[in-house]
């Protein structure tokens, strides 16, 4: 593997500043790797020519001593972030040929800071899924293989194209969106770092909505440092998003290397159900030991409403989605399948344009909002959501952060769980409560299973305490010395 694509951004930047390498050479190395790993199907659209052009511009800025904070950072962008002039599909046939005339705020900020978009990554259709197998553009393959190399594994989802790309070194970092775990779960299954920030920290403007009250954009990278760097540049208030928070974004890099001595880590007992994968349990215990060694105090806590998290999520998210996806009607843009009447046009277009999982969630969402069901489902779910939030608030009276596994299992085979949606939905069991409460969570790789597959741990914190997350994630990263070599298949 080309050495360039193994370095962190700060190392690359130093090399460019030392004139040992150009941004163009870096970008070329990454686009070469994109080609080599093409069979992973991590990308829906690639733009190597445009990336090289931007690399030239970055080189010029370096030469003039005007380099921006992220100049030359090869970035993959999940295909639900609109980028002007670049096809943006959300993994759906209904937007197969949709080219936006506008750019989402977070991409605008990252590009403005100098990062270079190398392509748009594959995802579960409209971000609905935990496996990146529901995409109209086919499944993405996890770069990691089990030791027997028997079959292709899912990269997790819905941001599986982004996590796979970062793991396969076809990008240095990537953007994802997390509605119920869609950044953290694929990060864990692909052995990379991924953070879901506090709801409202990053603008949702220009991101194709799945469930508006839960959606939040966040970065992936192979190191905590690069992840912190990306978040620092993409976060911040946006007047175009009414749910965006007024908040002065700190320099997250300053949290790295800070001691956690005397800080308290909560271990929620409800996250250790009978039948929790023994290897996951082992790595959880191992991570606890690392944190104790670093001087943290570990206390057991209770989050009693966790068990209602999943059903609550699977009412609220489809309800919002059923309404958010109503705009894909074949009238103004996207796929149109003509019909004799307006109702036919809707029916034919949406039947042909949406996949099964999207249709399933639209139906669930329509049902839970319908007359006579709204109070029993949607309103009740909102009340439980408040209870989940109260759980976390109470816990954070006692602890600084909470440590849990990110997933209950390692990556499964492509094709598994397809016939059983419930089994698929259970993938989100450790991640959804974070979204319901709006708090931040970061997943860090800690080790490999006996089969050789990555396992991730999740650090959760109170609202807008991303600094603490990076602080703890960095301690874990240092202790784990997890080597992401792009999996065994590379």
């Amino acid at each position: 593997m080309n050495e360039l694509i193994q370095l962190s951004y700060s190392a690359l930047r130093q090399k460019v500043l030392n004139k040992e390498v150009t941004v163009q050479e870096i970008v070329k190395a990454y686009t070469d790797q994109m080609q080599k790993t093409e069979k992973l199907n991590a990308f829906v659209t690639i733009c190597p020519d445009q990336a090289l052009k931007q690399a030239q511009e970055a080189d010029q800025r370096f030469q003039k001593g005007e380099a921006r904070p992220l100049d030359g950072f090869p970035l993959a962008v999940k295909d639900n972030f609109c980028v002007q002039g670049m096809r943006t599909t959300a993994g759906s046939k209904i937007l197969e040929n949709f080219v936006p005339t506008y750019t989402s705020t977070v991409v605008q900020k990252l590009v403005g800071a100098g990062s270079i978009v190398v392509g748009k990554t594959n995802m579960d259709e409209f971000a609905m899924g935990s496996s990146t197998t529901t995409s109209f553009f086919g499944p993405t393959v996890n770069p990691w293989k089990s030791k027997d190399h028997a079959s292709d594994l899912i990269p997790g989802g819905s941001s599986g194209g982004s996590s796979a790309s970062v793991a396969a070194h076809s990008s240095l970092g990537a953007l994802g969106s997390d509605t119920g775990g869609s950044i953290r779960q694929p990060a864990a299954l692909c052995g990379v770092v991924g953070i879901k920030p506090t709801y409202g920290l990053c603008s949702r403007y220009g991101i194709i909505a799945f469930a508006s009250s839960l959606d939040q954009a966040g970065p992936f990278a192979r190191t905590v440092e690069d992840t912190a760097l990306l978040l620092r540049e993409m976060a911040g208030h946006d007047s175009k998003d009414s749910t965006s928070l007024q908040y002065q974004v700190p320099d997250y890099l300053k949290a790295l290397g800070k001691s956690i001595r005397g800080m308290k880590v909560g271990i929620p007992k409800e996250y250790r159900p009978d039948g929790l994968n023994a290897e996951i349990a082992h790595w959880w215990d191992q991570t606890i030991l690392w944190l104790k060694d670093a001087g943290a105090e570990v206390v057991e806590i209770s989050l009693p409403y966790t068990k209602y998290g999943l059903p609550t999520y699977y009412i609220i998210a489809p309800a919002e989605a059923s309404s958010n996806l109503a705009r894909y009607d074949g009238v103004r843009y996207g796929l149109r399948v003509p019909g004799g009447t307006l109702d036919d046009l809707y029916s034919y277009t949406r039947t042909a344009g949406f996949g099964d999982e999207v249709k399933r969630r639209i139906l669930i969402g329509t049902y839970v909002l319908s007359a006579g069901k709204y109070e029993d489902y949607y309103l009740r779910a909102q009340r439980v959501r408040q209870c989940v939030t109260n759980d976390f608030n109470a816990a954070y009276q006692k602890v600084d952060v909470i440590l849990t596994p990110t997933t209950a299992n390692t990556a499964f085979k492509i094709g598994e769980n397809i016939t059983d949606p419930i089994a698929m939905y259970l993938q989100d069991v450790f991640t959804v409560t974070t979204n319901l409460a709006g708090i931040p969570g970061i997943s860090v790789p800690v080790g490999l299973s006996k089969e050789g597959l990555p396992i991730g741990m999740q650090v959760l914190g109170p609202m807008l305490q991303e600094e603490k997350l990076f602080q703890f994630a960095h301690i874990i990263e240092q202790a784990a010395r997890f080597k992401n070599l792009g999996g065994h298949s590379l």
């Binding site: 972030f81 949709f98 175009k240 749910t243 059923s322 109503a326 009607d329 103004r332 307006l342 329509t366």
Partner: protein, 491 residues
């Protein structure tokens, strides 16, 4: 409480009417997109990415529109909610780009207002307002440009509307029509809505039912597409007759939406209750609740202009106008301004009340008639208020009789000239010279000896005849008061 029952061969019927008014907020930009609002712009030229519901677009509420709703709520004496919420009303239609309309269903910004209307018998009645909420308008579908294609214009998409919903408090077409007139006036005074029904900035849906007095309300029909106050009257009258005819022939009234057809003055069924959609309302997760403070509401309250009823009371108290005269003057936005400008320019009057009344009479009489004939609004009047005041001042100074003043007025309305100039040029000055008037009176007495004799023998009524003759002989220029004096003395 007065009752206006309808009597038919089978007995009495009571009519129950409630209104849902959509008032377009007078705002330069739309409720959630910042795009310019428009009337009669080229199709699809005032549409932002948000209005067309492109993927990833988000609504951001326009604070000005919220202020207009608060103003309107305060003017209608409603309770302003400190916490209100935008909900999504989900339904598919080609001119509804998002597939939902952002409205306020569960927690509207205003509740419990009221408005006083005038009944035909001169009494007043309070019409209660259930709620006012903010919502976005849809675009327009155009079906008549092509035999099998429809066209969509999204210019209107996203424009702010205030939906004003009354309680079913009205009992006749007159009451409904007066409610809309009063509401329209208040909206125009506030400036929160242009309230032009013909341009669609005020749209009224009428809910109507009939029942026997003393029995529960009947099943109601909702009538849409009623776009003038006259049509509201027609639609209600037609609907009353239709519903009574159904009930009297032992049929039932369906709960349905009906469409008013202006060309025939009738209503026809549009969709029945069974076709009613399930809108699946839920709070819009893209928007935060509207949170207002008591301070803010107080500030808006203080910024409210004088409203029609307050102005009417003031005109009655300060200027001694009758309720009727004051009502006429305040019944649009410009007339009271005009009136008070006239008053400001009146000079040399001893009796201010008399002057104020005279000004009122001239405006609602001569001026309105002339403007009506020319199809002009008062703010386009050829006679500026200052000039009308000058004319009235000439009457006050005794330089012009009422009759001469009308002649001068006729010239003013055509030429816009100053009254004094007209008087000078035409020699229209009133004869107030005692000697000259006495000579004329002498002549009249001399010419009508028989009448003089009859008058002196007790026929007092003939006095008017002498006044008329004197005025005629003077060419209308004689000062009427002086004629009276001289005649009384000489006869």
């Amino acid at each position: 409480m007065t009752h206006s029952f309808i009597k038919t061969a089978t007995g009495l019927w009571e009519v129950v009417i409630g209104l849902e008014v959509h008032a377009q907020v007078k705002s330069l930009s739309k409720l959630f997109s910042g795009a310019a609002t428009s009337f009669a712009a080229d199709p699809n030229t005032k549409v932002s990415l948000v209005d067309a519901a492109l993927p990833g677009m988000l609504p951001v509420v326009n604070k000005f529109c919220i202020e207009q709703a608060v103003k309107t709520g305060l003017a209608l004496r409603g309770d302003i909610a400190l916490h209100s919420v935008f909900d999504r009303k989900n339904y598919f239609y080609a001119d509804l780009p998002q597939g939902y309309q952002i409205s306020q269903f569960y927690h509207p910004i205003v509740r419990n207002g009221f408005l006083e209307i005038d009944l035909e018998n001169g009494e007043t009645k309070t019409i209660h307002i259930e709620r006012i909420h903010l919502e976005q308008d849809a675009g327009k579908s155009i079906h008549d440009l092509h035999p099998d294609k429809s066209f969509i214009d999204l210019n209107r998409s996203g424009t702010a509307l205030m939906e004003i919903v009354t309680k079913p408090d009205m009992r006749s077409a007159h009451e409904a029509m007066d409610f809309i007139k009063k509401l329209r006036l208040i909206l125009r005074y506030l400036g929160s809505c242009d309230a032009n029904m013909d341009e669609g900035s005020l749209r009224v849906d009428v809910n109507i039912s009939v029942h026997r007095p003393g029995t529960p309300f009947g099943t109601r029909a909702e009538i849409k597409n009623v776009n003038s106050i006259r049509f509201i009257g027609q639609a209600i009258d037609h609907e009353i007759n239709r519903q009574i005819a159904l009930l009297e022939s032992d049929q039932s009234v369906d709960q349905e939406t009906r469409l008013f057809d202006a060309s025939s003055g009738t209503t026809r069924s549009m969709r029945s209750k069974e076709d009613a959609q399930d809108y699946r309302y839920f709070p819009d997760p893209d928007l935060r609740p509207i949170v207002l403070t008591e301070d803010y509401i107080q500030k808006v309250q203080e910024s409210l202009p004088e409203l029609p009823n307050e102005k009417r009371t003031r005109f009655m108290e300060d200027y001694g106008l009758s309720r009727y005269d004051a009502t006429v003057l305040v019944s649009d936005l410009e007339t009271p301004l005009y009136y008070e400008k006239v008053l400001k320019n009146l000079k040399g009057w001893k009796d201010q009340i008399e002057a104020a009344k005279l000004a009122s009479n001239w405006i609602s009489g001569e001026l309105f008639a002339a403007l009506n004939e020319k199809n002009l609004s008062i703010d386009k009047s050829p006679i500026a208020p200052e000039k009308l005041a000058q004319l009235l001042n000439l009457i006050g100074e005794g330089k012009l009789s009422g009759r001469l003043a009308k002649d001068v007025f006729e010239i003013m309305i055509e030429t816009g000239q100053e009254p004094e100039k007209i008087v000078d040029e035409k020699g229209l000055v009133q004869i107030s010279d005692t000697g000259a008037l006495e000579a004329i009176v002498d002549q009249v007495i001399k010419d009508n000896p028989k009448m003089v004799e009859e008058y002196k023998s007790g026929k007092d009524k003939l006095f008017g005849f002498f006044v008329g003759q004197t005025m005629k002989l003077s060419g209308g220029k004689a000062n009427p008061q002086m004629i009276n004096e001289i005649l009384k003395r000489k006869l």
